[in-house]
């Protein structure tokens, strides 16, 4: 018995020793790898034997609106940037030596391998790439924390072909994967403890971390000014491009604010409902401040809401306030927010809001969260168009989409409209069914499970039954001359690429690649319409002698509010 125990003990001891040996080997070899990576990526300061000289010059750029980063022009070949975590970065153009006696983390620019934690940061880079006509810059994005739908052009492709890697979610990133990518810089956001911990871990792993907290800035334009920080990471050229893009946006924003001066105030409610709870931006948030400059009168103004962040508020408070709203902006987006129905159910007095009667309820397009801040000028312009559609007619609404009831029908000018919440189906005068949906939203079918999101299941079904699909807002329109007046009234004359007078030439229309063809029932033959539809050209046949047809056209531009004002009221 004792002998057996001794033998068992020895066997166990041998196993333990083997396991310990293997574990130690694996640990040490892993440590070695990490150390090697550290050696190659460790921040370099005060390193150079030669006198630091280089003929590169940086543009003199100042930071005027943002408060969380600084650009220090040294007048020399390198630039100093302080990020939101007060890290000092010495941006040295490639080929130039690192400066002596300047403390900070040296980053050679343009960076070639960047890990980006936020899609909004990638969007800023996209704007810079666009300005430089150099989309290859996006290839420097080697790691991202988002694997859902990308609304930034090219990014989906880069992820699909493996140029850009998914490194895990931003709050649970795979640090080993990041290390393996060997990035020049990790661009991330902090602002709450989990992210600070991640930043510390990354730094301990020897990575250079640039903290971009644009989301904590106090105004739209301050948020957007971070484009300069991202631009600087791509060298003097990148910074110059960023400044140009930013200055143009500032100009647009100021022009919009000027145009709104003296206009009638618009009472608006800006909120979202998630699982029965209501979230509103504070009365001093950058959203409320920007809208105040554009003639918006925010309805959620209570003393406890005088703050910059957002807050959860009582249902009855939202209900009482929203009943007065002339404009409602729901800060949700499809496929999470797909209809007015749950809102009206939760807020019984919302139906009394003038906004509902006048088709002035909007929500975000999902692209807003990625691209919106990189297009601040456009966002401000589009918000102005929501507040004052008559004044800002002709502004393309790409970040805001109308929100309707689900499964309600309406007949306007002989055309039947079936509202589906965030899109609609119209049955035109020839009985053809045309699905009108905001741009890109059919893509969501690839990324979301229709069984989980019933609105997508409906969309999937609808797509199979309609004769044509029109994505809004339309930019290229072929229109019968009797219908042009409605497009002109809406301010979108520039979208007309061809006015038809007389016979319709299918070949010619096909070569124009229109988003939609609008024909007058008095002049369009059924066979022509069928031919166009068979060529996958969306056609809508209206009675253009009836002013109400203008409303149908307004749907094509995401302007049901203006359509209502001009053609239905």
């Amino acid at each position: 018995m004792v002998r057996k125990s001794v033998i068992a003990g020895v066997i166990i001891a041998v196993i333990v020793i083997i396991i310990a040996g293997v574990a130690s080997y694996l640990y040490l070899s892993h440590r070695k790898t990490t150390t090697t990576i550290r050696k190659t990526t460790r921040p370099v300061t005060h390193v150079t034997a030669r006198p630091p000289t280089c003929k590169v010059s940086w543009p003199t750029v100042s930071v005027e609106y943002a408060t969380l980063f600084k650009i220090i022009n040294t007048g020399k070949y390198y630039l100093i940037v302080k990020d939101a975590a007060n890290h000092t970065f010495i941006l040295v153009p490639r080929g130039c030596p690192a400066p002596r006696n300047v403390s900070g983390t040296v980053v050679y620019v343009p960076i070639r391998r960047g890990v980006y934690f936020s899609t909004t940061e990638v969007a800023l880079l996209y704007r810079i790439a666009q300005a430089l006509h150099k989309m290859s810059l996006l290839r420097t994005v080697v790691g991202v924390t988002w694997k859902g739908v990308w609304w930034i052009p090219y990014m989906q492709e880069l992820l699909n072909n493996g140029t850009t890697k998914y490194i895990g979610s931003s709050w649970h990133p795979d640090i080993e994967e990041i290390l393996a990518l060997n990035p020049d810089l990790v661009i991330m956001y902090t602002g709450f403890s989990t992210m600070v911990q991640i930043m510390n871990k990354l730094e301990k792993a020897g990575l250079k971390v640039f903290v971009d907290n644009e989301w904590l800035e106090k105004s739209y334009i301050a948020r957007f000014e971070w484009i300069k920080a991202i631009g600087a990471l791509y060298g003097p050229q990148g910074l110059r491009a960023a400044e140009e893009v930013f200055n143009n946006a500032v100009k647009t924003v100021e022009e919009v604010y000027d145009m709104c001066k003296g206009l009638q105030k618009v009472r608006y409610a800006w909120f979202v409902m998630y699982w029965g709870k209501f979230y509103v931006p504070g009365a001093e948030s950058y959203v409320a401040k920007a809208l105040a400059k554009m003639g918006g009168e925010y309805l959620f103004q209570s003393a406890t809401l005088r703050r910059t962040g957002s807050a959860t508020v009582s249902r009855e408070y939202v209900d009482a306030q929203v009943a007065k709203a002339q404009l409602i902006v729901i800060s949700g987006f499809p496929p999470y927010t797909t209809s007015l129905n749950p809102y009206v159910k939760a807020l019984p007095d919302m139906v009394k809001a003038p906004a509902l009667k006048t088709f002035r309820v909007f929500e975000y397009h999902p692209s807003y969260w990625q691209l919106g801040y990189a297009y601040t000028g456009k966002v401000i312009l589009q918000i102005a168009s929501l507040l004052h559609p008559e004044k800002f007619r002709g502004v393309y609404r790409t970040f805001f989409i109308p929100l309707y009831f689900t499964d309600k029908t309406m007949s306007i000018g002989g055309v039947e409209i079936i509202w589906r919440g965030y899109y609609e189906i119209i049955r035109d005068l020839y009985g053809d069914k045309i699905l009108i949906i905001p741009w890109g939203l059919t893509r969501q079918l690839k990324y979301f499970n229709p069984k989980v999101f019933p609105a997508l299941a409906t969309l999937e079904k609808d797509l199979k039954t309609v004769n044509a699909i029109v994505q809004t807002p339309v930019h290229r329109v072929v229109v019968y001359y009797t219908c042009t007046k409605y497009v002109d009234d809406l301010g979108f004359s520039s979208s007309i690429i061809r006015v038809i007078r007389g016979t319709v030439n299918v070949g010619e229309i096909e070569s124009l690649h229109p988003d939609v063809v609008i024909l007058d029932s008095s002049h369009a033959s059924k066979s022509i319409v069928e031919t166009l539809l068979s060529h996958k050209i969306p056609v809508i046949v209206l009675d253009c002698s009836n002013i109400k047809s203008g409303f149908i056209i307004s749907l094509l531009y995401n302007y049901p509010d203006l359509g209502y004002m001009l053609f239905l009221k």
């Binding site: 859902g148 699982w275 009855e316 499970n449």
Partner: protein
């Protein structure tokens, strides 16, 4: 029942009326109390005021909310009381069997992973209810099976706690995989609120609550025998297994239905049974069950009022106010026990 108990019951029952009126009259949107009373009256007698904002606020938001807080408070208190008796442990609450964790995990699966396909999709409140109930019932059945197998009540308690940890671990995995929007939505749900409860949901809550209340009253005698331990109960001729299963079933269903509609609500299930004991100075379950229900209803209604009025119109999660109320009680009890 002693005359003292009858008086106390009468007072508590009557207190439901002023509680209801106070909680209905006070809200972030100021409505003169007289007007509230008029609206309440006109609603009761069937006068049509549906066109006014005040009418909608009172009858479609505040009244359902107050009634929901009554039911939620009563249900969680009964659930807590039953479990405290079953486990003969005063610091036991509805979370102890892991039922609440199961509920939270299922909602997590729905919101964070979209893994559960439920009617209405992830954005529907009924989907939340369905998921929560599925999760709670799944855990409950595991516990019920184990309750039939395991002899020691302490082992059962440990199993419940372990299931809770298991659910938390799985939830952490889901959180790691979720997107920012999903995570935000889940956090918001997990904060708990009675603000979204509708009349149709109240009907479901009441339909579940009333039979459970009756069942717990019926179990009163068996529960009293249980107070001195299972062996003692057996000697008194109580079918221990039946009582055990009944208690687990009732407390789990009650917890599940409340978590489903209001999210997790902390401390009520733990603290209220103690208040009932202190007030009635008895361990008789036949008295404590209805007493806990009424006290739970009143306390939860005031906690809910506090959660919506403390920073009005900003709304605090109900667990914040119930914890503010429950934590001192728990500390007091623990210190008293030590003394």
């Amino acid at each position: 029942m002693r005359s003292r108990h009858i008086i106390l019951f009468s007072i508590l029952l009557i207190s439901l009326i002023p509680t209801f009126l106070i909680c209905t009259c006070i809200g972030p949107e100021y409505i003169p109390p007289l007007k509230v009373l008029k609206i309440l009256y006109s609603g009761l007698v069937g006068n049509n005021h549906s066109s006014t904002v005040y009418y909608d606020i009172i009858w479609r938001i505040r009244v359902p909310r107050v009634i929901a807080s009554f039911i939620a408070g009563a249900a969680l208190s009964i659930s807590g009381l039953l479990l405290q008796i079953l486990f003969r442990n005063p610091i036991v609450g509805p979370w102890v069997l892991g039922v609440e964790s199961g509920s939270v995990l299922a909602v997590g699966l729905l919101i964070l992973a979209g893994a559960l396909v439920v009617p209405g999709g992830v954005t529907s409140p009924w989907a939340l209810f369905a998921a929560s109930l599925i999760g709670a019932l799944a855990v409950m059945f595991i516990v019920l099976i184990l309750a039939g197998v395991v002899r020691s009540i302490v082992t059962l308690l440990l199993i419940g706690v372990t299931i809770g940890y298991l659910c938390s671990a799985m939830l952490s995995i889901l959180e790691a995989l979720a997107t920012k929007i999903q995570l935000q939505a889940f956090i918001m749900w997990s904060l708990g609120s009675l603000g979204a409860v509708t009349w149709s949901q109240i009907k479901v809550m009441a339909l579940v609550f009333v039979p459970c209340l009756v069942l717990s009253m019926i179990c009163g005698k068996g529960l009293n025998a249980y107070i001195l331990g299972e062996e003692h109960a057996k000697t008194l001729g109580v079918n221990v297994r039946v009582v055990r299963i009944m208690v687990i079933l009732v407390s789990s269903i009650l917890t599940a239905v409340i978590t489903a509609f209001a999210g997790p609500i902390a401390f009520i299930g733990l603290a209220v049974p103690h208040i009932a004991r202190l007030l009635y100075r008895t361990a008789d379950s036949r008295i404590l069950v209805p007493a806990s229900a009424i006290i739970g209803a009143v306390v939860t209604a005031y906690c809910d009022l506090a959660s919506r009025m403390m920073l009005a119109p900003v709304e605090l999660p109900i667990s914040t106010t119930t914890s503010l109320f429950g934590a001192p009680i728990l500390i007091m009890l623990l210190t008293r026990r030590r003394a």
